[in-house]
């Protein structure tokens, strides 16, 4: 599947395209199909996202999993500071990245 991701312009937060808007949680991201580039262009022009790009991901029971480690780290947070990730209470969150 294809995901569109970028950062929120004002806050810098990592965000994911849901199909109709943006979310901080990759589990809520939606498949952009072949519309990824068009969505990226349109959303950037509307300043709803900064630096959007399209990535490859696989569908898993826990939600989309980006193909590249860089985007998995973006989705979770720094592996060396579990307390600052989006899943601070989940001791196994880091293993999802690797």
């Amino acid at each position: 599947m294809k995901l569109v991701t970028g950062n929120d312009l004002a806050t810098g937060d990592v965000i994911w395209w849901t199909g109709s808007g943006w979310t901080r949680h990759i589990a809520e991201a939606g498949d952009a199909g072949d519309q990824g580039e068009a969505i990226a262009r349109q959303e950037e022009a509307a300043r709803r996202v900064n630096g959007p790009y399209v990535i490859e991901a696989s569908e898993t029971p826990d939600g989309p999993r980006p193909a590249h480690i860089k985007d998995r780290i973006r989705a979770l947070g720094p592996t060396v500071r579990p307390d600052l990730t989006l899943k601070p209470a989940d001791p196994n969150a880091g293993s999802w990245v690797i």
Binding site: N7, L9, A10, T11, G12, D13, V14, E44, R47, N50, G51, A67, H68, I69, K70, I73, R74, G77, P78, T79, V80, R81, L84
Partner: protein, 543 residues
């Protein structure tokens, strides 16, 4: 320490206003990201993996307790309670909001701090010797010159859109504690026939094509230094490559032209430029130097540190250096706890260090390029109290210049450019060599990790260096041996095929075991490597 006058303050305040306006134009859509990017970078604001990152300048690594407390305040109020001290003596915050950036800068300006030119293709923060003003071996305090350079380079009208970034280091001793010859320009201050001036090295750097700067001029008198540097930069601005970002640094220009041709071009330019009257008068250097006058040191009271506590004694031996003033010492606070994140400090730790500086170090702190903090002027009689406070704050790791005193870039945990993570590797190496007795037996061993070819973690200059690369989507690490960023400057060589994370830790252990087996008395690791070469280590690693 340098104190702003009304002119300095008005320039920094105007910069805050300018950046506020630029941020406003970006948020309102007047500026596209393409247009805004160079503007925000020129003020140290990056877009990183998780958020915006703000790099705040610590000019030549010197700051006072008020400034240090402000760094803690920014960490608490605008970030997530910590900051990361960098190899260029600056500090970075990882979780900044664009909408807060101008407010942060306004707060920093109240304590004479800023983020000016901490990124972008311009002259970056001037770096210097962290022991300046305290070391016995310096010819003069290099910081007044660094401050002159700070002013000269700030919003330099001609050199704000250079082919690539430009880093300058100034030292004033034969021992090089600032990796001077791995800078675009390295200045070594010295005295010749009673005249103060500088030996000028140009074209060093790390990155994907590491080079040691050749000497371009053996002596430039202090009163012509700005003219000479203006000539050096102008030749670079005119002729540096702009067709390929990887070949745009001045080291490539000098490599391609040859040092002799570059020197001749600079001389020709210098002949013109020196007539323009761009060098500040001697009175300006005198004005600045007066602010760096030695503090009112107490008379030597003959105090000797009480070594009865073995942990304190080890810390004294490892982290405390001789001071030029009898009765005083230079303390380095390690930001490299075993299993920790190199260079990171919490807001609470930053406050503790500020308090210690105010109480015990004439209100001065330094940031080192090895990502540690220095209290430059501590009375020997106060060392025990300082150490006890550091123990309390978990800042008393006695590992300065040992294998666990690792330089590491933020790597793929934070950085958008990285190919591999650096920090987890630093943590694993620290844990493998956690035994302090073993570390001390290995002696001075500078280990440096970069998460990509840009070499922010100085891997080329490590006695042992590690470079993280992306091998088909997985992290892979190359091992280098034999580099040095000190006065014995050299570039490390790759041992051979790379490793995964655990593999590189094992390989390092085979390297250190080999060193222990074959070293001669008094040899540091890098000395043994230079004597025997790569082969014995290679055999030990790859069998």
């Amino acid at each position: 320490m340098y104190k702003y006058d009304e002119y300095d303050q008005s320039i920094v305040d105007a910069r805050v206003d300018e950046f506020r306006d630029q941020c406003r134009r970006r948020l309102s859509g007047e500026l596209s990201e393409d247009q805004f990017k160079p503007l925000r970078l020129m003020n140290g604001l990056y877009l990183q993996l998780h958020a915006y990152m703000l790099r705040v300048a610590v000019p030549y690594g010197t700051l006072d307790s008020r400034q240090m407390r402000m760094l803690a305040h920014v960490a608490r109020k605008y970030d997530r309670g910590y900051g990361h001290f960098t190899t260029r003596q600056n500090i970075q915050y990882n979780w900044i909001k664009l909408e807060d950036a101008a407010d942060i800068l306004a707060e920093l300006a109240t304590v004479e701090m800023h983020a000016i030119q901490t990124s972008g293709n311009c002259i970056r923060n001037i770096s210097s010797d962290q022991f300046a003003g305290a070391a016995a071996d310096e010819v003069t305090d290099p910081r007044p010159f660094a401050e002159l350079l700070r002013q000269w380079s700030t919003f330099h009208p001609e050199f704000s859109y250079l082919p690539r970034k430009f880093k300058i280091a100034v030292i004033a001793a034969d021992e090089d504690r600032a990796a001077m010859r791995l800078h675009d320009i390295g200045l070594q201050l010295l005295e010749r026939d009673g005249v103060l001036g500088a030996k000028v090295f140009v074209g060093g750097g790390m990155g994907r094509t590491p080079m040691i700067a050749p000497e371009i001029k053996d002596f430039v008198p202090a009163d012509q230094l700005m003219s000479y540097l203006e000539a050096c930069l102008r030749v670079y601005n005119r002729y540096g490559r702009r067709d390929n970002i990887y070949k745009a640094r001045i080291k490539i220009l000098i490599h391609e032209l040859g040092a002799d041709k570059y020197r001749a071009e600079v001389e020709e330019e210098f002949a013109q430029v020196r007539q323009l009257g761009i060098d500040p008068p001697a009175a300006e250097l005198a004005r600045i130097s007066a602010m760096f006058a030695a503090p009112a040191f107490a008379a030597d009271d003959g105090a000797v540190a009480d070594r009865s506590d073995p942990d304190f004694a080890v810390w004294l031996d490892q982290n405390v250096r001789a001071h030029k003033q009898p009765g005083h010492a230079i303390v380095t606070i390690s930001l490299k706890p075993i299993g920790g994140i190199p260079g990171d400090a919490s807001a609470e730790q930053i406050d503790v260090m500020a308090d210690l500086a105010e109480r015990y170090s004439f209100d001065e702190l330094r940031v080192t390029h090895a990502q540690n903090i220095v209290l430059p002027h501590v009375r020997i009689a106060d060392l025990k109290a300082v150490w006890e406070a550091l123990v309390e704050a978990q800042l008393a790791e006695a590992n300065l210049d040992l294998i666990s005193d690792i330089i590491a870039c933020p790597g793929l945990d934070y950085c958008a450019l990285a190919n591999a993570r650096s920090i987890p590797l630093a943590q694993k190496i620290g844990q493998r060599f956690a035994d302090l007795g073993r570390q001390r037996d290995l002696g001075e061993l500078k280990l440096k990790i970069s998460g990509c070819i840009n070499a922010c973690g100085h891997h080329h200059a490590g006695h042992i260096g590690i470079l993280g690369v992306d091998r088909k989507g997985t992290e892979n690490y190359q091992l280098l041996l034999g580099g040095s960023g000190a006065e014995d400057v050299s570039l490390g060589k790759i041992t051979g095929p790379g490793f995964d994370e655990d593999g590189v830790v094992d390989a390092i252990e085979r390297v250190t075991d080999t060193y222990v087996r074959i070293r001669e008395t008094g040899e540091r690791f890098v000395d043994t490597y230079r004597r025997v070469g790569m082969q014995p280590f290679k055999e030990a690693i790859y069998g």
